[in-house]
Symmetry: D2
């Protein structure tokens, strides 16, 4: 099942700036066969739902393995069966 | 990896009231070995991250199989390694 | 206009535990004439939309005044005109 | 107080496609002195917090006045006092 996901990962205890961790999240997402659009409040992802969910789990595990104590992810997940959802299809005129 | 998740599933095209679909989401969550707290803007879930993510995928698939054309899920996902995250542990005094 | 709001305030740079700040957010919300339900991933609020939005602004200002450098709020906001929205009315059977 | 906000407005009862309502939300936001970036899961807004909150209330009121029965807004709100928050400043290298 194809899905559109917005993912924003917030590390707690990493300080006021979270740029280093956010950069790593985006880098990890590029390991997958996703279409990706990073913006000011997260990264929009187009891909297979099961792969996106697996990527999210891997991202949490990877950042924890590097010592980040606590992670909050904010996720918007969209699926539909009337047509194939794409990021390109959501562009407004 | 243990996780705390808030899940809110919104069907589009199901009309102004989404109670029927929300009730079914909560019913599906009770099929799993989760600790569950349903409130006015979603359901809080404590369980294994991989099982929770699998449940979310199953929920989308099940509702689509019943004819819901489009689904939006809003998910807050928390993991931590300094202690085991529990819903009980988040209660304020 | 009556509204239902879920508010979760996350301080960055306050460390791994954010309990102190969350407790204060809930305390500040009790200064208003709202119906409040605090749960594991935020506080659900029933009240006048303009007052709730003003409260959110006051909360950010108050926590910044106390030295919290960066604040992220995650807000779900619901309004409807077919009936008066209430937290009580969202309880599932 | 300057703020960065992500706003996503979802009408319920408007059918499977919500493009018409989303287009109107973005149009209404352009009436204000905001810096705006619309993407696949919402619109990022840079501006004065009080004006952005007022705009959100106006958007709900306007869409309800046009007959939309129920509206859900998903809002991420960021403020900080260590520096002025800007959308440009959140671009990753």
């Amino acid at each position: 099942m194809r899905a559109l996901v917005e993912l924003q990962v917030i590390p707690l205890g990493a300080g006021v700036s979270v740029r280093k961790e956010v950069t790593q999240v985006v880098k990890l997402l590029h390991n997958y066969d996703f279409i990706i659009d990073t913006h000011g409040s997260g990264t929009n992802i187009e891909g297979e739902l099961s792969e996106i969910l697996a990527a999210i789990e891997t991202i949490h595990q990877t950042l924890h393995d590097q010592g980040i104590a606590r992670l909050l992810s904010y996720i918007k997940l969209e699926t539909r069966i009337d047509k194939v959802p794409t990021l390109a299809g959501k562009k407004l005129d």
